[in-house]
């Protein structure tokens, strides 16, 4: 796997991204914008489940409005993230901080899927269950962790 990603760095289209300053920066800015939509919409629904924000709307209303944006943003975040990864895959792949980030994102996405599958049911209940609130809380913590890990890749490992 590591060898494959190291080899991918030399693909013509990958080298084009890596060597064109504005192109790489544009991909990075895209990644940045998609993460705001992805994390912003998820955290807003989580805060609503916790009863902290957007209380004028039901969990069902809020989820139905925001989740299409969430999944669109996820697609673009994965795409832009993968493009940045390919430019230096040989270094990213074995990097411990990068692996922490990927693990935290995987866990955060599992919590997002749990919320996506249950939010209508949770929204109908007269009182939102403690279990639902726990999932929402864990989700927020995981997304904060995912962003922190993303920033730490540059700080600790000097990548990106």
């Amino acid at each position: 796997m590591g060898n494959f990603f190291a080899g991918l760095e030399h693909a013509a289209w990958v080298m084009k991204i890596a060597e064109t300053g504005w192109l790489y920066a544009t991909v990075s800015v895209t990644h940045y914008f998609t993460l705001f939509v992805l994390v912003g919409t998820i955290v807003l629904v989580d805060l609503r489940i916790l009863g902290v924000a957007a209380r004028s709307q039901t969990v069902t209303q809020l989820g139905e409005t925001l989740f299409p944006w969430t999944w669109t943003a996820l697609g673009l975040a994965l795409l832009s993230g993968f493009l940045m990864f390919t430019t230096d895959g040989g270094d990213y792949y074995p990097d411990p901080v990068f692996r922490v980030k990927m693990t935290v994102i995987l866990l955060a996405l599992i919590s997002a899927v749990i919320v996506q599958r249950n939010f209508r049911k949770w929204g109908q209940a007269p009182v939102i269950s403690t279990g639902a609130k726990l999932v929402a809380f864990v989700s927020i913590v995981l997304w904060v962790g995912a962003i922190l890990a993303g920033v730490e890749i540059a700080a600790i490992s000097g990548l990106g």
Binding site: G21, Y24, A25, S28, V29, Y32, F33, L35, F36, V39, G40, V43, V144, I147, L148, V151, E152, A154, A155, I156, G160
Partner: protein, 163 residues
Amino acid sequence: MHLIFVVCQWLEQTSIGTVIRESLWLFPVIETVHIFGIILLVGGTSILDLRLMGLTFRDEAVSKLARRFLPWAWAGFIIQVTTGLLMFSSEATKMYVNRAFQVKMLLIVAAGVNALVFHSLAYQSVGKWDKDPVAPMSARVAGLISILFWFGIVAMGRWIAYV
């Protein structure tokens, strides 16, 4: 030497600037808070901008949306200034010559001027068009300029790392 540069040099060698620069965790933690602050600030202003442009929340009164979302935007703004200053203090002289940072600061001033002009002119007559699905031209233009400036500010913020 330019006064601003002297201030930058001073900031960098303060204990706060030094501690942030030398820590592997402080800068990333502050940056993470800054990122969530962007969601609050730009999320809040963008909702209002899109409403002014007549693109979303057309059935909600403009003044009602403003009352609901501007406090969040202001909270976000305070977080941004605080975390931004902390990060700046750790690498002030580097930022002083960074083109993306310079453009970002100019855009912030421009966004502020745009908001000020909007509030002291178009928004004064909001009572007349509060419930109109599409606001008057001057308000629509202010909304468009605002959203472009804020997105530019965020983009330039990320671009700082690449110049």
